[in-house]
Symmetry: C2
Subunit: 212 residues, 2 copies
Amino acid sequence: MNTPTKSERILNAAEELFARHGYDGVTIRQIATKAKVDVALASYHFGKKEDLFKAVFRRRAEILSASRREVLLASQAQSNGEKQTLEQIIEAFLLPLKLAQESNDPGWRNYMALLSYVMTSPVWNEILMPTAFDIHVKEFIDALEQVLPGAKIEDIHWCYHYVSGALALTLAQTGRIDRLSDGACQSSDFDAAYNRMIPFVAAGFREVCRGD
Amino acid sequence: MNTPTKSERILNAAEELFARHGYDGVTIRQIATKAKVDVALASYHFGKKEDLFKAVFRRRAEILSASRREVLLASQAQSNGEKQTLEQIIEAFLLPLKLAQESNDPGWRNYMALLSYVMTSPVWNEILMPTAFDIHVKEFIDALEQVLPGAKIEDIHWCYHYVSGALALTLAQTGRIDRLSDGACQSSDFDAAYNRMIPFVAAGFREVCRGD
DNA sequence: GTCTATACCGTGATAGAC
DNA sequence: GTCTATCACGGTATAGAC
């Protein structure tokens, strides 16, 4: 067992709390208490509260983006010469998130909820998404353009937006689907969520983006 | 011109601030300043901060639910005897939100962002959605069951979840689609968002919910 | 009943001493 | 790296004006 450093403990505690309560819903003291370190140590390592938040967000953003790109390139290589399918691209986009959420590391599960928070926050979206994810997302948009010849670029972007929204709500794990379905579905059942999301959005893309 | 009462001014100011910054990102003092009333007046009218938040959320939730039900019933009546189409049900679900967002009342636009916040918050979703929206949403799920014979109930619920997510991100108006598309699409263009959302999700439903 | 001024007391982030 | 002091700001209760 590799014991995390105090600095890592702060990041982990902050990740969990920010994911559930958002930026303003968490105090440095709560983070320090959960991490079992002195209040002042967070500022010592990470500076202002805002900078700590950014550090938490960026820690796994890079890993995630790299992993997505890897899966996308692997699937491009696999279909040697031939065109990728729409489903392959969507799968490459979603698979790293599914793996992260299914992993035994609770940190990754917390991070998925944090990502959902940042994606849907008008304030944080603008601050964090451009540098952490947007550049990389454009590669996916490009790949989508390839497999949807004749599609208008606006149609592709709106469809990507719907995927992004469906994904964000899935990552948020609000428990609402459990209630609405009287337990027939569970927010925590990512297999169920992702297995259906791929055919759902693929069909949507084909319908909206077919060159009439 | 009908001048709003102080009590309404508080609700309006709170609505705008909560929508943008979330529950914890706003102070009673900020709300009072924006509403141009004394700090203590908010507590006088609405009690605790949490109760003010609930009051803001519930004010328009009832109007919205009633309007949705109306549109759904009207579309059921219109197709006299014959089955509704999937598209009609989805449209009935989305139309009141589109109208609210396109209205000249900035309060409604703020409320849409607040709704997005509550939908995606693990904390507030559980507190506010069951009483404000969930009962009513079940009528839509029922209507969907009618037009998708043979579909598994889990499939319908997951598809509804994706719609819900796509909708929530649209309501949030993060401006991300503007950036990603280099201005080809705008977060504020609800016509574009809704016109494509209907065929997108209809195709998704048909793909996932077809009785194999 | 509606509203304002003010006071209370806990908690926040953070700088500076150690 | 740690502990402590500082000082501003938070929600809310209360007293009294209109």
